[in-house]
Amino acid sequence: MRIKPIAFGILTVALFTGTIGVTMATGAWQTTGRTAAGAGAGGGGGPGSGAASGPVESGSATGDIKGWMTIGAVATTAGVSLPEILAAFALPADTPPETAVKDLESDVFSVTALRAWLTERTGPSTTTPEPASGTGADPASSEPAAP
């Protein structure tokens, strides 16, 4: 069967955009696994962080803390003052709140250590179900709080 070149082009574009469109319509499309500290959605076990699906370990939101998050955002969402965090890990008191957690890592400070400290402060871990697909993908709805 002969195929017209223009039909070949339309087929190509339709297959590609159609696949994306269908997944967007069904809510499967997610372009980020990153969520705000404390949002408790996706970040701990979402696709961007390595797990395909499943519940999120979010013990008082501390399980969602990632290295890319700013120390200010973590403090705000965890309900702990920034100076308190800095003092607890002997970090410089003049550390800007917009500094990424991963950029502060040292022998005594790490993302894991921060999670553990915050969990200790805010209570034991709980497991919360992951929200519906797509909710974590909306950048506007999951923007970190301003430091």
């Binding site: 082009g9 190509t12 372009t31 961007g48």
Partner: protein
């Protein structure tokens, strides 16, 4: 296979088409293709700019969509890891997997058309090649210099075929490396990722590769696609099973070789009967350039699997099957 073409009516022979030149060449299929390439590139560019501005505005790289979330190869790169552990490699989002599947779907039905119609990196290489042609047309010394360079490099033509295997090695390294080490081993050298992350101002090997690709495209069309693109390798493998292929009808062909000259992937279309090469990007430049009506046609039928070979044949440099009844 012979039964397939036995039912195919032969076209009227010898009708000569006047080639389109200048802006007229952008009408029709090639205009549609260029518009598609431009649209996809602009969408990706918009995401990169939005991301760069958001980070500069203090979003701290937070939840704004990254350009790499729109890379289909991320979805293919994580296949090994996903099959082994049920998890994605770090930096892979659902969008990467969906895009990867969409590219493979396109590869099955339309062969390498993703590369020829949608891939922004391919479009950038096309733009560089177009600029090269323009410069060579307008500045004779440059044309002569390029011709001289091509003559001197012609002895390296024997490396063309083995070098085309490189992309399959890159594909294997990227997929198996990600599965073995849990990280995207290809990411640091990926020119596409370097382009997407160019706003972050981190100069790495990827940026060096990107510059090399752009420079190489001035001399060799689609250099990255020909030799090193792992996504092209993946689509090439899937395209082997495609029911759609390009056929050259010998009776209508004057063997002028214009199609071979027009092919950006360097496939000698003029000496093949059925073009089933994994390297074909479905750009249809050969069809557009062909001066004879009906000499090159797209046809759908049962998949043609004459040989399981990742290399084009030496004689025709494309998989060539005689299907005359």
């Amino acid at each position: 296979m012979s039964q397939t073409t036995a039912r195919t009516p032969r076209p009227a022979l010898g009708a000569i088409r006047r080639p389109r030149r200048g802006l007229a060449a952008l009408r029709g299929v090639q205009g549609f293709r260029r518009a598609t390439q431009l649209a996809v590139t602009l969408v990706v560019l918009a995401v990169v700019v939005e991301r760069t501005l958001a980070v500069a505005g203090g979003a701290a790289g937070g939840t704004v969509t990254t350009g790499e979330a729109l890379c289909p190869f991320g979805g293919i790169e994580t296949i090994g890891t996903f099959l082994a552990t049920g998890s994605f490699v770090s930096h892979v989002h659902v969008s990467n997997v969906i895009l990867g599947l969409a590219v493979l779907l396109v590869a099955f039905f339309a062969r390498g058309a993703f590369c020829g119609w949608l891939c922004p990196l391919g479009f950038i290489q096309d733009l560089v090649a177009g600029f090269s042609h323009l410069v060579q047309r307008r500045i004779p010394p440059v044309r002569r210099a390029v011709r001289t360079l091509e003559r001197r490099a012609s002895r390296l033509a024997v490396l063309d075929r083995p070098l085309r295997l490189l992309k399959y090695a890159v594909l294997a390294w990227a997929v198996l490396g990600a599965a073995a080490f849990g990280v995207m081993v290809f990411r640091d050298v990926d020119p596409w990722n370097a382009l997407l992350e160019i706003g972050s101002a981190t100069v790495g090997i990827g940026l060096v590769v990107l510059v090399l690709v752009i420079v190489a495209s001035f001399f060799v069309e689609r250099a990255w696609c020909r030799y090193a693109c792992p996504l092209g390798a993946a689509t090439g493998i899937v395209s082997r099973f495609s029911p759609i292929r390009l056929e050259r009808v010998e009776a209508a062909c004057s063997s002028c070789g214009v199609c071979t000259t027009a092919c950006p992937m360097g496939l000698p279309v003029a000496t093949a009967t059925v073009i089933t090469s994994q390297d074909c990007i479905g750009c249809l430049e050969c069809v557009e350039a062909c001066p004879r009506s009906g000499a090159l046609e797209l046809r759908a039928g049962l998949p043609v699997l004459p040989t399981i070979s990742f290399l084009p044949r030496r004689s025709a440099d494309v998989t060539s099957v005689h299907i005359d009844s």
